[in-house]
Amino acid sequence: MTLRDWQAARGDTEHDVDVVIVGSGPGGAATARVFAEAGASVMVLEEGPARPNFRPNFAHTNRYHMQEGGAMVAASSGGMMPIAAGRGVGGGSLVNSAICFRTPDHVLDGWVDRLAGDRRYAPERLAPVFDEIEALIQVETTPDAVAGENNRIVVRGAQALGLPGGMVRRNTPGCNGCGICNFGCPVGGKASVDRNLLPMAMARGAIVQGDAKVDTILVDDDRARGVVGTVHHPDTREPIGRLTVRAAKVFVCAGGIGTPRLLHHAGLAPRLGPAVGEHLHVHPGNAVLGICDHPVRMWSGATQGAYFEDPALPGVLPHTLTAPPAALMVVLGKVGHEAKSMLPLMERLCGCVVMISDKGHGSVSARGSGRAHIGYRFDPSDVDRIKAGMIRTAEVLLAGGASQVLGPVHGLGTHRSVDSFAAAIADRTITDFNLYASHPMGSCRMGADPADSVVGPTGEAHGLPGLYLADSSVFPTSLGVNPQLTTMTMATAIARGLTR
């Protein structure tokens, strides 16, 4: 088992391996396991800390476990939203809500078309890989023991309205229902990839080096040959040494933000084509809160343990929300002598995030400093679907037991009926919404045409043999569901296709 931190890589170090992987999140971990189990020598380089450093507050999580320190993006269409992307050995799986939806069949069918009929990621081909991954990361339907009233409200409400839904499938075999997954699991109950796929890879000889930020991709004779990066202290970011890893296969699995940022920063974007960093989708969302007359205690229960769907609203996926007290204080919007009245109210709050499969899109490039430069533009239809989803969600929460509903929308107010809520939200514009996104994807998409994609069906870059991508950045389209399971599954399929 070889997990290394900054102390193991002082000075200048060099390695020669079969496969080097940049990024240790779901994509990188899945890739590492496949190659290691196939007998390849593998080294995984992770920018973030080798070991988790969890505390339940935004500032600490942004500092240690969010890429770009928590990216806040001002959209050209108006409005701002943070786009969360995880960091650390385990990547996004450290700080996500552990939701495991399979890619909808209609999405995969669309990918077949984008790949000019190549069926390697078609539903029937990925189904056994989904089975495999779900078994390895212990996916199960959120059990009732950790459901919590917040989740039950959504389930009751959806059932009352005849809407499909229920408890979410999650990779949380040891969940105790404390609801702070998004700051990192303090009890090890979440089966993030640092607890399964990466140890499996390390058991077969893979080396995982944390605190190592790659900034250069070595190219020789028109082929990717390795990477170079800096090892740094996790707290001070002081450079400790330079790390060079030469490999026959170079995988970049740094996620929907990290992968295009690196490719731009490394100067490879002109070679790889105009699609590098383009077509970014993020699943933007807002939320609806309910005020109940009974205790809910949203942190006593799985973080996002329930969902529902409305067949009349395709591409809209509401699921339960748990937010930290500081965020709830802001949403409730009280200032001054009334502000402390928000604290006891929190015990009676329930919540549901409303996430959409966005038609809007954005871009990722790199600033001169190396930091990501992210842009985004909302499509008008996205705004309409967010509103429609929020109205339906308000209805579900009221049917499930809330007596009032409100949301982080300027001028929305608090309402006791869905009609009142709907009337109030109708003329809100995008800048009135406090949006949030945590699923960056598609920014180096896979496709048959090098003019509008970065990698082909094998995962190899069109413009640079030897360079492969295997993370959410390769998704040909927006998913519409939480992406970690698709990321692991697709990365496994990509890697397996190269080991046979």
Binding site: N57, A59, S76, P325, Y376
Partner: protein, 172 residues
């Protein structure tokens, strides 16, 4: 064209707020670009620290339950820690926002910054920002509150109220 929030955005936000052209704000514009830390502080200047303290007290005044105010909870020091841990670029942007917000009341309060206003005046100002129609100003104020809220909700005097609801954090 998409772009990250820049000084131009912040200044444009000022322009949209009805204090545009205020002499006070204009005169301080060119002093913003990275004032040195104050005594005992890691990153914030003394004025920036005083602003955060004043903002925190306006948001969470003394009295009520829990009795401790945002200022008594030393959220200025908490915020100083937060900014010190940020990248230089992020820290400058955030400090710029603090200075912008602090200077906004000058035009309507006889040249006084936010930190120098009486408590009730500060509460009124903050309430106006949090509910302002200009989204950039509103988001700027809310972002600062969300950060300092993380300090208040984890303060030892506040934790006893929150910890019964948490299995894993906030005092447990």
């Amino acid at each position: 064209m998409t772009r990250r929030i820049t000084r131009r955005h912040v200044l444009a936000a000022m322009g949209d707020v009805p204090v545009v052209g205020a002499l006070g704000a204009g005169a301080t514009a060119w002093q913003w670009w990275d004032r040195p830390p104050g005594d005992g502080l890691l990153s914030l200047s003394s004025d920036e620290h005083a602003f955060v303290q004043a903002l925190a007290e306006a948001w969470l005044p003394p009295g009520g339950e829990p009795a401790i105010s945002g200022a008594e909870a030393r959220l200025g020091d908490f915020f100083d820690d937060v900014v010190a841990a940020m990248s230089d670029e992020q820290a400058v942007e955030l400090k710029l926002l603090l200075q912008l917000l602090d200077d906004l009341p000058r035009a309507t309060h006889w040249g006084r910054p936010f930190r120098a206003l009486e408590l009730e005046a500060r509460i009124a100002q903050l309430d106006g920002w949090v509910h302002h129609d200009q989204w950039l100003l509103r988001n700027a104020a809310v972002a600062v509150l969300a950060l300092i809220g993380g300090g208040y909700t984890t303060h030892p005097d506040v934790l006893p109220m929150l910890s019964p609801w948490f299995k894993c954090a906030y005092g447990r």
